[in-house]
């Protein structure tokens, strides 16, 4: 009796599986099967993230040979864990995700590993007790971004009195961009630091106070464009000319920041490139083809100075 039930269940499951694969097979116009990818994005907290999402969705398209299930976690770990478990249930070929926080993934990462599904980490990293949790990691090197900004400052304004607008204290971009930048320009040249929490409003408030506290400052390094834009407003309000009286160097390269660069209010931007969906697609194809992939892939960041043109900015994807 018991056995019979089990057999029926197995039979049903098999029928269902056949039906499902049948469905999948119909979609493949080119004859090759689509690669089923589950992607869990952490949210849409910034313009950068939105551009990243669009890039991933555009690259992992049906035309490119992917069957993408995209889930936005709205910055909640529990949503993300649920999405990952759903992906295991759906038995996707590859799971990719940008973890919203570093810790608390042990259980679900073990489940993914036990299910034998290769994992691609995107942009952020995890801290876990699971051995060898992911196949490959792809993202930006925040420290390198800070280093590039610092090298430009050291080459062009070696005697600058620098004020540093820090991102949210303790976040990886804040720590790494600061470390990279400080190593290049020398800590003795940084006369002050304050956080602007990566936002324009707080970047403005911090700069207002800094203009008073450090009247000798003549260069601001902001850990992102938004805080740099806030600094521009504060500098203008104080009757100084941003980009001339006070040099502004930022990281990110979002549209408003690039526009400020064209307008001469920013002096240098190190791009933090969100458009690497094509690189993720390439990695996933290599994994499915059984090729060996590098453990880490650094997304190449460009840097821009005031020589860029309006046409160049208008042509950018984000």
């Amino acid at each position: 009796m018991f056995m019979k039930k089990k057999i029926i269940a197995a039979g049903l499951g098999l029928a269902l599986a056949v039906a499902l694969t049948g469905c999948g097979g119909d979609k493949g116009d080119t004859g090759t099967d689509l690669i089923k990818v589950g992607f869990s994005q952490l949210g849409a907290e910034s313009g950068w993230r939105t551009a990243n999402t669009e890039s991933v969705q555009a690259s992992l398209s049906k035309e490119n040979g992917f069957d993408l299930t995209f889930v936005d976690a709205q910055q909640k770990q529990e949503n993300q864990i649920k999405a990952l478990r759903d992906f295991i249930q759906q038995d996707v070929d590859v799971i990719a995700f940008s973890p919203v926080v570093e810790t608390g993934w042990d259980e679900v990462l073990q489940e993914i590993k036990d299910a034998g599904i290769p994992l691609v980490l995107v942009d952020r990293n995890v801290n876990t007790s699971v051995v060898d949790p992911y196949v490959t990691w792809i993202g930006a090197d925040f420290k390198l971004e800070g280093t590039m900004a610092g090298q430009w400052v050291a080459a062009n304004y070696p005697d600058a009195k620098i004020f540093e607008l820090q991102g949210t204290m303790g976040s990886a971009p804040q720590l790494d961009r600061e470390a990279g930048f400080d190593a290049e320009v020398g800590v003795e040249n940084i006369i002050g630091r304050a956080t602007g929490n990566f936002t324009r409003a707080e970047g403005k408030a911090a700069t207002e106070a800094a203009l008073q506290a450090y009247p000798e400052m003549n260069l601001i390094f902001a850990h992102n464009d938004d805080m740099g834009l806030g600094a521009v407003e504060a500098i203008k309000a104080a009757g100084k000319v941003p980009g001339v009286d006070i040099i502004i160097v930022t990281v990110d390269g979002v549209r408003a920041g690039m526009q400020a660069l064209v307008d001469g209010e920013f002096n240098y931007i190190v791009e933090c490139n969100p458009v690497f969906g094509d690189q993720i697609a390439g990695l996933i194809k290599d994994i499915m083809a059984g090729k060996s992939v590098p453990k880490t892939t650094i997304v190449v960041d460009a840097a821009f100075d005031q020589t860029i043109t309006q046409a160049f900015v208008d042509a950018r994807a984000y």
Binding site: E45, D72, G192, T199, A205, Q212, A213, P215, G230
Partner: protein, 361 residues
């Protein structure tokens, strides 16, 4: 109080407290001292801090910046102060800020005439309306359904950002509209518009609360709702009113705060601002237990809060220590305000005086 203390020591009574005693026991003393000390310390540490100049036809200077930065926490704290006086609390104000900004900017983005003044007024009206609606929802939960305020307002604190996210479709809605932007970064008669808005609202609330019986009725509800109800105070209606007002002001605060950048970031606008508002109220001398409340103290509380945030940079403290610096100042103010501590000190000094008196006699 002086009377009790003196009786307790067993000395002959004094007719009325002296001016000095009245000042020393005044609820505004310690927050005002903290504010003045902070401002003076900044002025000494950083010459020019106290200067106010006229630039492009409007006032400019660190003190003006502090006033502008105080506007948002003050708008939140005025409503919060009344809610706390009724014996409640409103944890939803930060989320309401995000909701009001989300609805007004989403409306502006969809509008063909975002740069016209009437459109901006409709957008502001929508933001105020959603704030009022949430406030009345909170008030109904508390006054009609008798749900504990902490829980009732936590619903919107949690769900509000989700609702804001639905409005903005999970993205950061940005739009450019000069008339709307002006409520956050414009000037009126040389003063920043947020300061003007906060000042007008403060005066209106003060008049409504203190020139009518509302303030007294509110205190009676906060002290003992049952007794107030039995005495004929329409407790339910008044509670609904203060939550509604608190929501309305939070909606206004969201737009004033978000207007300079015109970016409706549902995740981050107003994050933790409910705690800042509660802090302003507490620094101002109002007890979280409800009852007696001090709107003037709340104004000073908001000024202290924004001065603290600025002072950290002026004093060149690293940003890691900001929360610690804030906490230390708040602890000092709260301890200085402690009634029990002040009574103990008063009793001790009286005892010392009494002992001296016996020796000389």
């Amino acid at each position: 109080m002086t009377q009790d203390v003196i009786n307790a020591v067993g000395r002959e009574t004094v007719s009325a407290p002296s001016l000095g005693t009245r000042i020393l026991t005044h609820h505004l003393l310690w927050p005002a001292v903290a504010f003045v000390v902070l401002i003076v310390a900044c002025g000494v540490f950083s010459p020019g801090f106290l200067d106010i100049t006229i630039r492009d036809g409007h006032l400019f200077g660190q003190l003006i910046d502090i006033l502008r930065a105080s506007a948002t926490p003050l708008l939140l704290a005025l409503g919060m102060c009344l809610v706390i006086a009724s014996g409640g609390i409103d944890l939803s104000v930060g989320a309401v800020m995000a909701m009001s900004l989300a609805i007004s900017l989403t409306f502006l983005k969809g509008s063909a005439s975002a740069n016209s003044v009437p459109t901006a007024l409709v957008a502001i009206g929508l933001g105020l309306l959603i704030g009022l609606a949430v406030g009345l929802f909170n008030g109904t939960m508390v006054s009609v359904l008798k749900i504990q305020p902490f829980i009732a307002t936590m619903i919107i604190m949690v769900a509000g950002r989700g609702i804001a996210m639905l409005m903005t479709k999970g993205q950061i809605t940005t739009v450019y509209a000069a008339p709307f932007k002006a409520i956050g970064s414009g000037f009126f008669l040389g003063l920043p518009i947020p300061v003007v808005i906060a000042a007008v609202v403060t005066v209106l609330v003060l008049v409504v609360v203190r020139k009518t019986a509302l303030g007294t009725l509110l205190e009676s509800i906060g002290i003992n709702r049952q007794a107030a109800h039995l005495a004929g105070v329409p407790a339910g209606a008044i509670i609904l009113l203060v939550y509604g007002l608190c929501g309305l002001l939070a909606g206004l605060a969201g737009m004033v705060y978000g207007a300079p950048t015109m970016a409706a970031d549902a995740n981050n606008i107003g994050l933790m601002k409910e705690l800042d508002a509660i802090l302003c109220v507490v620094i101002g001398g109002t007890s979280l237990a409800g009852g007696k409340f001090y709107l003037s103290g709340t104004v000073i509380g908001a000024l202290v809060l924004s001065t603290l945030e600025r002072a950290v940079i002026i004093f060149r403290f690293p940003s890691q220590t900001t929360p610690l610096f804030k906490a230390v100042v708040v602890i000092v103010i709260c301890v200085a305000q402690s009634r029990t501590l002040r009574e103990r000190i008063a009793r001790r000094s009286l005892r010392v005086q009494a002992a001296k008196g016996e020796v000389t006699r």
